[in-house]
Symmetry: C2
Subunit: 243 residues, 2 copies
DNA sequence: GACTTTTAAATGTCTGACAAATGAAAATTG
DNA sequence: CAATTTTCATTTGTCAGACATTTAAAAGTC
């Protein structure tokens, strides 16, 4: 592991070297890295620089640190849970910073969700169904705020995705499903549209319960079209107001 | 923005505070953060601690720094390209560190790819088709190493996904498609299986060219089943050798 | 007005110091 | 001897101060 000590980004270089050692398997889960003092000797830099490199790795969840004798920096096991949270954050920022149209994000989300539908039909448990029914019930409550409705909507679709019982799918989908929530919140639904959405959710849940993927896909497709129409109306009327 | 100066993770707290300011929109793209000296005053911590916080954010691509007068830390625009690279790294580590079975990863990958197929049929350009044909041709070359074959395979499928012309889809899919490559490399294909794979790739490309999503989906499905069978054979024989 | 020099501001790095946590080893005690 | 307490070395967390380097604006020069 060599670095160019003349370049002014030593901590980035050191982080990269260690990161690559982890990715290549040279360092395994729970392996202990050399202490900061040892690393600073090895790389011939100050301890400050080493620490900045370690913080970079910690920010990526690649290592954790522990104080005290026999403490140090240890290679982290990537958990689906943590990775998912980070993935959602990044996806959300990507959408908000890149002027991604609602159409594009919505299309991606439903295309991916539809891919889960057949698997979820096969494997969904009573738990998944119960979650979905509970969320549908919540969505029917009159006093619900728009934010709470959207959150419940996300929970409903997450249950559908999780029903496929494939952690890789759940992880990848989380980004698409959750990141769109802020965009959804911009489109405030009327009480009437909520009722229609609940009906479609019920139809989807019925299909999953009956393990009938045709019904589920039809319900998802209807939901996609319906929401897209609503969204376009909202955007059109907003543009008109702006004139 | 307040932090608990008695807790021993000041830099993480500061990073979190700034991160949330970015996510909430309080700080916008290209906004300049206060200088390190100013931040260290605001948070009442040393400059070292502030710098560690900033390095954390830099590791997540949330900020960039620039030296000199009128330099400083600026909020980064998240680019799909950078986010995709990070996403692939994380996905790869997730698979390798969590004993995800080949079956699970493979199922997720094909379910997601199949979701892109109809869209790609509609929108793929001549460029995408040309890339796919070129990769098929490369895959037929006899001297190709296993690694190169797998890389070409990834490029082929990436072209299919990109054909949907939806950056959100491409971003999400990249994780699933690329992260499985190391697992694929473990399964060394014989020359004969390569031929069969090329045939299926050709069938998929033909379907895309004819904008016939049925053919594409059939090709993908055949490829999924075929590779899965191969993989199971390899794993079974490997287990037998171990006895 | 065009060019050069100066200067102030900012990040990048290093050193040395001390605080705090932590587990092992040694000392103490019953 | 066994259980408990104390000591101690190690390691991370934080700070202050220093200097190098970069950078663009400001001042000076022709």
């Amino acid at each position: 592991m060599k670095i160019d000590t003349t370049s002014p980004d030593l901590s980035a270089q050191i982080a990269k070297a260690i990161r690559e050692a982890i990715i290549s398997g040279e360092l395994s889960v729970n392996d202990r890295l050399p202490s900061e003092a040892e690393l600073s000797e090895q790389f011939d830099v100050g301890r400050t620089t080493v620490r900045e490199a370690l913080k970079r790795l910690a920010a990526q969840n690649l290592i954790r640190t522990q104080r005290g004798a026999f403490g140090g920096a240890f290679v982290n096991k990537q958990s689906f849970q943590d990775a998912q949270a980070a993935h959602i954050t990044t996806s959300t920022l990507l959408l908000s910073m890149n002027d991604v149209s609602f159409d594009t994000a919505w299309e991606a989300r439903f295309a991916l969700e539809a891919a889960c539908a057949p698997l979820s039909c096969q494997r969904r448990t009573a738990d998944h169904l119960a979650t979905m029914r509970a969320e549908i019930h919540r969505q029917g409550q009159p006093g619900l705020t728009d934010e709470a409705f959207c959150a419940s909507d996300v929970a409903f679709h997450r249950a559908l995705v999780d029903g496929a019982q494939n952690p890789v799918l759940s992880y990848q989908l989380a980004g698409a499903v959750e990141a769109i929530e802020p965009l959804m919140n911009m489109i405030t639904f009327t009480a009437r549209s909520r009722e229609a959405i609940c009906d479609m959710h019920t139809s989807i849940a019925d299909g999953l319960e009956a393990q009938d993927s045709k019904t589920v896909e039809a319900g998802l497709s209807a939901l996609e079209t319906y929401t897209l129409t609503l969204a376009r109306d909202v955007i059109t009327s907003r543009d008109q107001q702006r004139r």
